[in-house]
Amino acid sequence: MNDDQRHPVEILAEEFADRLRSDQQPSIEEYVSRYPEHAEMIMAIFPPIAMMEQAREVHASSSRLSSRTSSSNLPSNKTQIPDRLGDFQLLREIGRGGMGVVFEAVQQSLKRHVALKVMSDIAAGSAQRRARFIREAEAAAQLHHTNIVGVFGTGEESGYLFYAMQLIQGTPLNEVIAAIKRGDASGMPADATEKKDGSRVNNATDSLGNVATLSSHPTAVPREVLASPVLRPQYFHQVAHLIANVASGLHYAHHLGIFHRDIKPSNLLLDREGAIWITDFGVAKRDSLEDVTQAGEIVGTLRYMAPEQLRGTSNARSDIYSLGLTLFELLTLQPALTATTGSWFETVAKGLIPSPRSIRKDIPRDLEVITLKACAADPAERYATAEALEQDLRRFMEDRPVLARRESVALRIRRIVRRNPAVATLTLALILMLTAVVALLGRGYHLKQQALKKIQLEYDRAEENLQQKTSALVTADHERNRAEKNLSMAIEAFAGVVNNIASRGGSESLLDELGDEDIDLASVDAILSDADVQLLENLMAFFDRFALENGTDLSAQSALATRRVADIQHRLGRLEGAVQSYRKSLEIYRNLAEKHPDNREFQYAQVQIVSEMIVVSAKRGRMGEVLLMYNKAQSLAMQSSLLRDTAEGKLALARLCNTMASLGSRYGGDNRLRPVRNWMRRVMSSPARDVVVSPITTERLKRENEANTMALRLLQELLAEEPQQVAYRLTLARVQREDVRIAQSMREFERAEAALKASIETLEKLIAEYPDVDAFQFELANTLRTGVIYSPADMQRFSRAVRICDHLIQSHPHEVEYRSLRSSALIRVATVQNATGKSDRAIESLKTAYEDQALIADRFPEILVYQIAAAQTLSNLAEVQLNAGDRVAAMQSIDRAIHYGSRGAKNGRNVPFLERLREKKKSLQGDALKKENNDAQPTTIP
């Protein structure tokens, strides 16, 4: 902020007020002597400033306390409410909740003092709130528990809704915490002690406050020292005791199907006997009752809400979470979640709750474990019941081992990882990350038992080794060699885990890298999450740091991890990140290859990475990049005798060639759009044999043909040596499939037909041998839908492809590639249907195709090719609809096509395609206009 523009004394006044607010008690004299040139002005304005500050302070503290009416001179609210409501004589206001005012009252008939909660009439005006109030009373009246404030009954009188409850002479825990924090057990604002109920405040606070401070004369200790008051061990026991009692009350209520939904310190009262009371089941929701709160309405206090509550669902575990945060606050004397840094929602959702012991070292470890388990972000990781939490707290109090620790290695580790990876020691970090990966895999990913067991074994081995490693590092330097060996074993174990992640869902490029005995892993369905990426990124950072600090060369491991991160990013659709990771990995491999010219691995890896990068670039529609990389990779492969003369080298090269050759069919480039746009019409109106190809296409085709032919030759060589090798056969099937397309485009139809048969045959053989591998089914479907249509007989082939895809999607609903393939097969089905005059069925097929594509396009809005694919299908759909005479539907399809087309054109690409869509729309509108005799309807082109 530019202070030059401000009045100098105003700046001083701001400082003065700030100091007043932070209780530094600045003196006006001090300012006068510091700034004599402003003396007069300071003398004039600082006193009223001090007065205003004090007025606000007094007002605020009096409204914080429950009895505002008696401490302030405001017109009494009670005057608005009659002195008597039915059987109840109102005495004074003692508090305010979200819904109304609480009075101390005497129930005349029973001569007992009660707390009467009266709903404010404004709030009562809303039917929704009224319903909630009654529901609250009904729910709470069912509860009879020593730690729950009892509700006697509800009533309505003189237009006021109210309910009577047990009068508790207590202090809310938030005030207790504040008092302890001030290091001042009797630290309530001065005027509170003068009120007739003042004693309750002190007594209640004392029961915790006295054990909170070591000093027997807390007030004699300067405030600054008490910024972090010393807490006695008894304090922690006392806290455990209180929270256990709350948990007991909650369990009881949960048992009756009643959730509190707003557990927080201010809803827990500590009475003068030191008993704790849950109050204000104000937003309690009965299980069986219709939820009358508005959708999306946020009830309760956001700060104590569980992540799932923020998403609108809550259950018993949400209350446990909120109680966990309350426990946290009692232990650390500060809220678990402070909204100061970063995104609060993210903090809650990811469970980025700091470790209590990172705030106060004197908190017992077991209590920390219990706290963190209670407020785990994932409800499944919390205590299943409030009773379980209670029991664990009691175990702690009895010095018995708590259960939380035993059953939550993963929890503990994940917590430490997310808390601060940099703090954890390097070696520990690896163990943690391994475990976290295992935990991720084990959690609801339908991982096959066997695979899980294997990983678990690997993990166990890794942890053992790493523990050795840790001690080795600590004890002596000369153990370094052994330790490093252990470390690389651990890394190997890690690689096993990572390979599993990367291959989930059957990434083509990874399939063959798993041994045959592992191949069923590839069929495991899973949605990769950003958490996977995060873990791997942490691991990469670990490799880098470790290498730096130990002078060890971990580049190979780092390169591999980086590459896997890229694979995962790629599959998540994070293409930009994938490119960066691939580049980083490539760089490390390049250095490695220079240092170790005899190691072929580093060279294959480079070729493989470039192949992947080509695919990514193609997906991003950057055909220029693709060509550059292809040339680079090819020269790399050709120049290296290591690659040229080995099976692995040949395979890598064959795959590169195939990738290149298949780009046109897989991802389309900018120069592919024009032919595609007219594809339907061409195919329908003229025999495929007469397709006219442009010179650009011819050039590209030539290149693709060369690449694919080379791939074919390489694979034949390889298979001559090892005819049963799965990876060779799979790659061959792909190359053959590509050959179909290329041959067809070159109008070599016999070659095309032969290639098609060959590809199908190769795959059918593979499937016969490995019937459970989804990836082979996928490839077969892919081949089946390939090939230009000669006759309606081809319909069978396409339909079979659709059926295979249906089956695959059924078991893997989230796999993008499966849906993508189905939509492609459906489009071909539609083509035949349309050509044979079944336009209704063609429209249905195209609609289904569009649904698949829209699903993908909406999930990955940044991937251009998905948007374009959806737009194309819609554009085709519009044409068929138009031909069928359904102008309205066609117009709708075109509008949608423009929607996806515009998304696809974000980078300024594919604009001609979009233009054509708009022209189409215009002409349709023009036709419509003509028909309507130039009705005054201007055409608006977005």
Partner: protein, 218 residues
């Protein structure tokens, strides 16, 4: 709050949608409650709680999010404060509907509740300016103090209220009252000085019980 923060908040809101809104709202909540606490008509404080008002305002704010995002003329805080204030006024109006509301229908000073501010200021300051033993005459003094505060320039009065009862910065004050940084800063100094004068007169009033004197002419 610095300018860059306001920009950042704005960006968060425009790009982050509802999640960002709830987040920001949580950040602002305390300030908004303080604002309502201060400005709520004293006569209905028993009926309406600041947190009720703020919660009510949040629903309104989330309903209008798109509107704001499309044309974020002011910073998110100022916008949410305006909405909250409007919600409060609406609730009060509903309450007084049958009683011919003494509140003006519209506020001539942007962001203020006009004479409401004087009443609010007076009700806060009265305890500080008079001795507690004179509770019997407090109502009358309250009226006089309100009048004295009324004698101040309306914007000056708002500046004080915003700075010391809503705890806003000079920059926020400037934005809310549509003043330049310099003007807001200068007005603040002037207003504080004027309040100092009123205080002096009032202290005399309190001590000598001279209800007939008009503090404005001191």
């Amino acid at each position: 709050m610095s300018n860059s923060n306001a920009n950042e908040d704005s960006l968060r809101l425009v790009s982050g949608g509802e999640a960002a809104l709830a987040e920001l709202f949580l950040d602002y909540r305390e300030r908004l409650e303080r604002m309502v606490e201060f400005r709520l008509d004293p006569r209905i404080r028993g009926r309406l709680d600041a947190s009720d008002v703020v919660q009510e305002a949040f629903f309104e704010i989330s309903r209008r999010l798109q509107e704001y995002v499309q044309n974020p003329a002011v910073s998110p805080f100022v916008w949410m404060r305006q909405r909250t204030l409007q919600t409060m006024i609406d609730l009060q109006r509903r309450h007084f509907r049958d009683k011919r509301s003494p509140l003006r229908e519209s506020a001539p000073v942007p962001g203020a509740v006009s004479d409401g501010t004087s009443i609010a200021l007076a009700s806060y300051l009265i305890a500080e300016m008079t001795s507690p033993s004179q509770a019997a005459v407090k109502a009358e003094e309250m009226m006089q103090l309100t009048q004295a505060l009324e004698s101040m320039n309306e914007i000056d009065r708002e500046v004080l209220a915003l700075r010391h009862f809503e705890l806003l910065t000079n920059q926020q004050v400037a934005e809310i009252l549509q003043l330049s940084i310099t003007a807001a800063s200068n007005r603040y100094v002037r207003a504080a000085a004027r309040l100092g004068e009123i205080m002096k007169v009032f202290a005399q009033l309190g001590n000598h019980r001279q209800p007939g004197r008009d503090p404005r002419h001191e």
